[in-house]
């Protein structure tokens, strides 16, 4: 499914997710959009936080005229729903779709949405995902060229993030095997996992690889591109920054997925002040440490490189 869509693509898609709410996904999405646009790169922000859409308010837009609601309910074209922001080269598709429950989005609508996202006339499309690991959220995450996860340094956020990444990976494995014609095999084995002595996703993947060498080859090839860009937000100490390195390590050693730890963003009261002022953060608070962290991580995502750790290399 995704393969066919990806061939007709215009710009580079970044999706920002991570499981728990309140970690700063929307805030950071707004900042990444601002950064790219200010580099003169035409950028579209898409608010896919279904039920909790508020990306527009980070740009001081009160009640947008258009939103994804028109796409789902009136069959509007996505490109007709673009709302301009006060920043050159940056527009927005708002997600004020309180009338739509995520569950009611049909499969065909989802495909159409993905196809139109890919066709948006922009160099970068940044998708702000809502909290949670709903299938629609995971599928949207998986169409991205760069899958970005935002995390705050606290236990529940870490737990939810593991859950989110595991589910994304599981979904990817299923999609991949489906594309190769092994649609039922994963579900079949998973449903009978106790008979196979399988307790979790990792063991399922290992089992499949071990048992069916051709599946192993397919998964190795396809999952080689499964790479997560990790951002740690709201850090208050050097210890918090190092936490990101630990999480990277655990995810790599446990799930075998590649993690690029691209940045840590300092906690700063200027953020909520800016949100209250309903002004793009990077326009007014460019000199804060927080803004500098965001600029650095934006560059890191662009160039696919990692954060410089305190005290030298990671």
């Amino acid at each position: 499914m995704t393969q066919a869509i990806k061939t007709a693509k215009e710009g580079e898609i970044w999706a920002v997710g991570g499981g728990k709410g309140g970690t700063g996904k929307t805030f950071l999405s707004s900042c990444l959009g601002t950064l790219l646009a200010r580099k003169g790169r035409p950028t579209v922000l898409v608010d896919m936080d279904i039920g909790g859409a508020n990306l527009h308010s980070f740009f001081g837009i009160e009640r947008p005229h258009h939103s994804l609601t028109s796409f789902f309910e009136m069959g509007s074209q996505l490109s007709d729903l673009l709302v301009r922001t006060e920043i050159d080269h940056l527009s927005l598709i708002t997600g004020d779709i309180h009338s739509i429950a995520s569950d009611t989005i049909k499969f065909s609508q989802k495909l159409k949405l993905f196809r139109q996202i890919m066709k948006l006339n922009a160099q970068f499309v940044i998708i702000d995902l809502g909290a949670g690991s709903h299938l629609n959220t995971l599928d949207t995450f998986l169409i991205a060229d760069k899958m970005i996860v935002v995390l705050a340094p606290e236990v529940i956020a870490i737990e939810n993030m593991y859950h989110f990444i595991k589910n994304s990976l599981f979904r990817k494995v299923k999609q991949t095997l489906k594309e190769y014609g092994f649609k039922e095999i994963v579900q079949h084995i998973w449903d009978r996992r106790q008979n196979y002595g399988i307790r979790n996703l990792k063991e399922l993947i290992d089992y499949l690889k071990d048992r069916f060498s051709y599946i192993g080859t397919i998964l190795d090839n396809e999952l080689a591109n499964f790479r997560i860009y990790l951002i740690l937000n709201q850090v208050r100490s050097k210890q918090d920054v190092l936490l990101g390195a630990s999480i990277k390590s655990v995810l790599q050693k446990y799930l075998g997925v590649e993690i690029l730890y691209v940045g840590a963003v300092e906690y700063n009261d200027a953020v909520w002040r800016s949100v209250r002022e309903r002004k793009p953060f990077l326009l007014n608070y460019l000199s804060t440490g927080c803004a500098k962290d965001i600029e650095t991580l934006g560059e890191n995502i662009l160039k696919e490189r990692e954060i410089m750790m305190p005290g030298g290399s990671m």
Partner: protein, 186 residues
């Protein structure tokens, strides 16, 4: 000079193949700490990332560390020289197997790891002259045994050494000196 045959070990320690001995040391200490206790990073995966798996990861980290110490240490100083495929290089600790951890031995290990004394002082929040006194075995300048023990422990851990052995060897020398010391006995 190629480090290709060490790539696997660099990967285990999650550092690039051009890493210095110092990077290897840091990565080793960091990962060892991470997988040795139940931190908030591991806790949510406790059921899935079993103790068995965790211990295996620790073993791999240990192996990678020793292979890298040996491999990097055996590298000739000049890049032009050939790097032997199966280098018989010896890890820092192995090399010192039969040597007690005296002040001189500790300094040798530290220097070989390319760690500056200033850095340890800063990281461990210890006085530089105290660390110098430890390495010079100027016992009279050292604090009471209980304090010394604490400092030594941190110092040894920082260098990635076997803490118990360092304490045993070094404190053994310290106690011997104290017994011989003329004057006040407390």
């Amino acid at each position: 000079m190629s480090r290709a045959h060490l790539a696997k070990y660099f990967h285990v320690l999650e550092i690039p193949t051009e890493a210095t001995l110092r990077d290897v040391q840091n990565a080793y200490l960091r990962l060892k700490r991470l997988y040795s206790d139940h931190s908030i990073v591991l806790a949510p995966l406790e059921e899935e990332f079993t103790d068995k798996k965790r211990l295996k990861v620790l073993e791999e980290i240990e192996e990678a560390y020793h292979k890298l110490l040996a491999g990097i240490h055996a590298e000739p100083p000049k890049a032009a020289a050939l790097f032997p495929e199966e280098s018989p290089g010896v890890p820092v600790e192995k090399n010192l197997e039969n040597m007690a951890y005296s002040g001189v031995a500790l300094r040798k290990v530290r220097e070989r790891l390319g760690i500056d004394l200033n850095e340890i002082a800063k990281e461990l929040k210890l006085r530089l002259d105290l660390l110098r006194a430890v390495e010079d075995e100027r016992f009279e300048a050292l604090p009471e045994e209980a304090y010394l023990k604490g400092h030594l422990k941190n110092y040894a851990r920082y260098l990635g050494l076997n803490v118990d052995r360092v304490l045993e060897d070094y404190l053994g020398r310290y106690v011997a000196w104290k017994a011989k010391k003329p004057g006040l006995k407390r």
